[in-house]
Symmetry: C2
DNA sequence: CATATATTTGCATCAATGTTGCAAAAGTAA
DNA sequence: TTACTTTTGCAACATTGATGCAAATATATG
């Protein structure tokens, strides 16, 4: 865990390790409020900046679930300095409200005659395995 | 224009028509700030609720461009009561910052062995035709 | 056309979230 | 241990989303 942070050029402070541990406790993407309730006392701004630096360093990525709410999930390998490289789609179960990173779905290829598509994200909705 | 609103069961008030006209002036998706600067005086809450009712009625749809900013664009046919049916991807040009609804890109099909995918959205990034 | 009804607007007020500046604290390297 | 850089915690502020309510407006009905 410390290694992970240092490999991204982030100092391994107790607070950051605590937040990282919370991510590790959950299988799927989590909301800010989940992190907040897992933490005992914490400074709101510090947490906000922690998440921000995690995103910038490529430790976690942000997922826009519906129109409004957002969640966060640990990155896989290969994410660095805001250049997130995710070979998975994000799936939101409309029953249990869980948000999954699905690397079992093959990413399609997109082509446009005149536009150059350098990257794209896919957010899917539906019903997950256990709710099915 | 009045017909459009009434077909969605929205009353055709002057303010709503004014906002709709602004959408008509722009080819691509626009930000809230663009609407605000086009309007002379306006009430912030009323505009907020106008956009909200447009989205709920299927007149416009919301586009999440990057992690943060959002834009709005007129819906095509077939969007009703929050059941937006868009057969296009959203493309954000990293040069000119314009956001396009690209119906020239074929929507791929997604499959998962155990999850039921009912709908999905695609946000792409890259360089648009005129910036290319 | 006038009126009754339902919706919309404008205003006040509030909540949640994101942001900045700065001094103290803590981590890192020499 | 010291010097330097980053992070934290606090205050203060900006932006955005949301609700309640009375006045204004739109629509339907007689």
């Amino acid at each position: 865990m410390e290694k992970l942070l240092k490999s991204k050029n982030l100092r391994a402070t107790p607070f950051r390790l605590e937040v990282l541990t919370i991510f590790g406790k959950y299988e799927n993407a989590i909301e800010m409020s989940t992190i907040e309730s897992e933490l005992g006392n914490f400074d709101r701004i510090t947490l906000y900046r922690t998440i921000k630096s995690f995103i910038q360093a490529g430790v976690v990525h942000e997922i826009h679930v519906n129109g409004d709410s957002k969640k966060f999930a640990l990155c896989a390998e290969g994410c660095e300095n805001l250049h997130h490289q995710h070979d998975h789609i994000h799936f939101h179960c409309t029953v249990c409200q869980e948000t999954f990173c699905l690397d079992t779905v093959e990413m399609p290829s997109l082509n446009h005659p005149t536009f150059t598509i350098s990257s794209f994200d896919i957010q899917a909705q539906g019903i997950c395995e256990s709710c099915n």
